[in-house]
Symmetry: C2
C-alpha cells in the first residue's frame, strides 16, 4: 500500500511517496512561493501515484480543531500569501483521498516515535532549532494539540547575568526562540552559526539558553526522551553541554532512570533529516485507521 | 455501587465513600503522622464500607510507572517517615480490591474534568498554590505521567526588574514555587497571605509571577482551560490581574477562541474544595474499567 507525504515548509514543499514501513520510494522538492503556483505542482505530483491517503506536516500556525470551520487551514502566518489557506481542503478536493494533518514539528516527532530515536515511547518532546524554534510533543501516546498546538519556542527565559541582548522574537523578545534560533545567533554574534564553530563562547551561551528551555519542558511534561533537531543542532558540541547544564539546573530534584542515563535522554534526531517526511507518511497511515 | 476515595496529604488523610456520580456519602479526616499509626486507621475506615475499588490521590513524588518495581510507592519525599512507603500495596493487601493511584494534583484535576469547571475537556492544567505549587495536567484526555509526573512548580521565572528576593525553593530558588507559594509570600513580605489582603503591591507581584508560569504552560501545552486552586488563590482579586497579565505577555501571538474568552479560560476550582476527593472517586471508578 502506498501513501503520500507532504512536508510543507515556508521555503519548500517536500513531496514523497512511501510505504507502511516508512520507506521513501520517491521524493521531489517544490519551492514554496504562492498557493496558486505551488499547490497545482504538489497536486500534479501526487495525482498519478496511486496513494491511498496523504499526510501533511505543515508550517504553522494551523487549525487542528476538527470541529472548527477552518480545520485544515494555515492561519495567521507571517507568510501572507498563505494566510487562511485551506491546504487540507485543496488536497482532499483534488485527490479525493483521506488526508492527515498536523504541524511540521509534530510530524517530525511522529517520524521519530514511529521509526527513529524515540521508537515506542509515549511521552516525547521534539524541538527544532532553525529559523525559528518549534516543538512537537507526544503525551500519553498522543500528539499534543489542546486549544491549538504547542508553541513552545515562546516560553520566557531568564537572561544570563550581564546579558543585555534584547532577543530576536518580535512578540516576546527574550523567549526561547528569541534567544536561540539561527537568526538570534546571527543577530547577537554578527555571523551565522556555521561561521562561529570555533567560538566556544557562542555555544556556551547557546547551550545555557537551550537547557533552560528544556528544564521547563521537563518539569511540565515529564518526557521520557527529548530529541533536538534543526540546523543549529548540527553543532554537535552542543549536546554534551546541554546535557550537563540540564542536570545542573534540575539540581537533583527529579530522580528518574531516564535522567540517570542523560546521554540517551537528550538526543539528536535519528532519521537523517527524513523525520518530517516519514512522519507525514505516518499521518497518512493514521488518517485511514 | 460504592467507591472509596483517599486524598493523601502531608498533614491529613481525607477518607471518603462516594458513588459513580461523584456524590460523597461519608467522609472523615485522619492526621498524617507516621505510616504505622495513620494507615491502620485508614484501612479500618474503609474495611466495612462495601466499596468496589479505591482511588488514592497522593502527595508526592510518587512512582506511577506500572512496570516499575516500586509502582505505588511514595518516593523521595521530605516527609522521611513516608519515604519509599508502599501505599498502594498496603491498601490492596488489606482490602483486596482494585486501587487507582495518581498525584494529589492530578486527582484534583480529574475531579474538575469529570464533574467541575473543566467538565468534558481534554486538555487542562490544574495548578494549586499553597505550601508548594503543584500541577495536574490532562493532555488528549489523559493525565500526564511521562517518566514520572509533572513537577511544573519548578519551572524557572524571570525576576521582575529590581527584585532581589532569592526565592523559597531549596532546589531552584526563584522557580514558580520559590516565588509564589504561601511560604514564599511569607518569606518575602514577613506575613501570611491572609494578613496581606489590603496590600495591593503583594498581589500585583504575585499575579506577575503566576502569569509568567501560566504563559509558559500555555505555550508548551496549549490547554483549553487553566484552573487555579489552593490557599493562595482564595485571594480572589488575583484572577483578573492574572488574566490581564497573561494576555499582555502573550502579546497577541496566539489567537484562539479560548483566549478571546479569558474570564472562562483561567478560572477558580469549581467543586468547593472537594475536587481532590471527588477525583479520587474517579480514580477508583477508572481502576475497574
Amino acid at each position: 500500500m502506498l501513501y503520500g507525504a507532504l512536508e510543507s515548509g515556508g521555503t519548500k514543499m517536500i513531496c514523497a511517496v512511501g510505504d507502511e514501513n516508512g520507506t521513501i520510494i520517491d521524493k521531489i522538492t517544490i519551492p514554496t512561493t504562492i498557493p496558486d503556483e505551488t499547490m497545482p505542482k504538489v497536486v500534479e505530483y501526487f495525482s498519478d501515484k496511486d496513494i491511498k491517503a496523504l499526510g501533511i506536516a505543515c508550517f504553522g500556525p494551523i487549525d487542528l480543531d476538527k470541529t472548527s470551520d477552518i480545520y485544515g487551514y494555515i492561519v495567521e502566518t507571517p507568510k501572507t500569501a498563505w494566510r487562511f489557506y485551506n491546504i487540507v481542503g485543496t488536497i482532499k478536493d483534488a485527490l479525493g483521498i483521506p488526508v492527515g494533518f498536523d504541524t511540521d514539528v509534530n510530524g517530525s516527532l511522529l517520524g521519530e516515535v514511529t521509526w527513529g530515536s524515540a521508537k515506542g515511547l509515549t511521552d516525547v518532546v521534539y524541538l527544532t532549532f532553525g529559523t525559528g524554534v518549534g516543538a512537537g510533543i507526544l503525551s500519553g501516546g498522543k500528539l499534543v494539540h489542546g486549544m491549538m498546538h504547542p508553541e513552545a519556542g515562546h516560553i520566557k527565559l531568564v537572561p544570563l547575568p550581564g546579558d543585555t541582548f534584547e532577543g530576536k522574537c518580535p512578540f516576546h523578545g527574550t523567549c526561547l526562540e528569541g534567544m536561540t534560533s539561527g537568526p538570534a545567533i546571527e543577530a547577537r554574534w554578527g555571523a551565522r552559526g556555521e561561521e562561529l564553530v570555533e567560538r566556544p563562547e557562542v555555544w556556551e551561551m547557546e547551550s545555557s539558553y537551550i537547557s533552560q528551555g528544556l528544564v521547563n519542558m521537563i518539569c511540565i511534561l515529564s518526557p521520557q526522551k527529548i530529541i533536538l533537531g534543526g540546523g543549529v543542532m548540527h553543532q554537535k558540541s552542543l549536546f554534551p553541554m546541554i546535557r550537563e547544564k540540564v542536570l545542573k539546573e534540575l539540581n537533583g530534584y527529579l530522580k528518574t532512570k531516564q535522567l540517570d542515563d542523560i546521554d540517551n535522554y537528550i538526543v539528536p534526531a535519528g532519521l537523517n533529516d527524513d523525520q518530517g517526511i516519514m512522519g507525514a507518511i505516518k499521518l497518512a497511515i493514521d488518517s485511514i485507521e
